[in-house]
Symmetry: C2
Subunit: 232 residues, 2 copies
Amino acid sequence: MRTVNPQRVENRRRQILDAARFCFEQKGFHATSMAEICARAEMSPGALYRYFSSKEEIIVAMSEETNFQAIDSLRTKTEDVKNGSNFLDAIHGLLTEIAATNFSKDQGALCAESISEAMRNIQFANAASIAYIEYQELFAQLLELGKNQGAIDEDQDTLELAAILMAIVDGMVLRMAFDSDFKSETAVKWIGNLFCRYLTSEAKDYVSNNFGKPICIVDFKNTRFPGGQFDE
Amino acid sequence: MRTVNPQRVENRRRQILDAARFCFEQKGFHATSMAEICARAEMSPGALYRYFSSKEEIIVAMSEETNFQAIDSLRTKTEDVKNGSNFLDAIHGLLTEIAATNFSKDQGALCAESISEAMRNIQFANAASIAYIEYQELFAQLLELGKNQGAIDEDQDTLELAAILMAIVDGMVLRMAFDSDFKSETAVKWIGNLFCRYLTSEAKDYVSNNFGKPICIVDFKNTRFPGGQFDE
DNA sequence: AATAAGAGAACGAACGTTCGCTTTTTTAAT
DNA sequence: ATTAAAAAAGCGAACGTTCGTTCTCTTATT
């Protein structure tokens, strides 16, 4: 009597999710057929359906994975600041990371389709909604730490500010999908620029004193922001 | 010998586009079947296909119509400022209009799906791209007029600023689709808030002097911005 | 009479999923 | 160690459904 091998199951699921992500990024959820995922995963439909019971389940699993990674990264940053790191460093690092993983045509397209999907698919919407709220609350926590360090005005509603900044990042991501002239560097520069406009005058002074540029045109990409340069 | 009646053709196309828009807003492009559009337009497939040769053609036509309307509205606003209207009034009016026509769950969903569609459908992408660039250039013109009125810093790249503001509005629209707690009023308030952060100190003084609030928490919705209140 | 306009059944392709069968692997008895 | 049983794993053709589109026939209009 043969028993299931959990490790093999895990490997197979990994293989399928990787294949699915590859396809979805290039063609989107609906334009990707199961046959294409099977081909990429080097697996027959019969085999694939042993590990996921539907296409929808694959979409949801892949998205949950993405969400989890984003939240995990933000959590790390927040912990760092709790443990004494500089708030502006953390923001800078976060933005760098977001730019690296999300600021591309493919990610923009996937992001757009995820939002469409959330509108039509209740299971997907729930997963996304939970992740969104968790991210927002964590981000608000980080901004709150920014307040403690005197970088953000006391009277800002950090939860709302978090939501707005997230929406802005999304807007940039989507614009990137849509307009190939809209570059990652432009988005990073402007997110830095407008974020700086929400800094306290103390935080602005700190940046100005260190880098000798008026804060209103500070450029995360081309000036040295506390914490160093963008790689590449 | 019977002749084609151009008026009837126009009416029929109108009927189809209205039906399509209704369906697309609720269910999206791909989830809406031709049968549903036919039902809503009270027309058989045979009849419908006399006026549009494919579903794609309907999608493109509907989107072009939307784009044209948005551009036309912006053009009017820009002309007004050219003819001596106050720049901040125009921005306020524009935002009011955008909020009324785009800040809803359905519009957000449609916007997301349009971006997805543009990624996969070259014809759609071209139409959207042309419209986007036209909108951006017009908006930059308007911002340039804002410079002339001393409301925006001389050294701002208005074309880039236009792109960023458009991306931000898109981000809000999409967030609204996704998160039912994210209200139109919140989006309007914050767009106003952050727009104000790009105003010159003269423009800020103008707002402060008239409304006695520090510009950094100015609220387009709850304070009287030059040009009046939001309806409803 | 001629043809535009419309109706609706039917077609055909695409696609997610299933099903019957084969192969591989594990287990346990010899 | 060998082997046979049992079930897991895998394969791929086929199924059933959905849906965009077409085709034929009828009706309306000039």
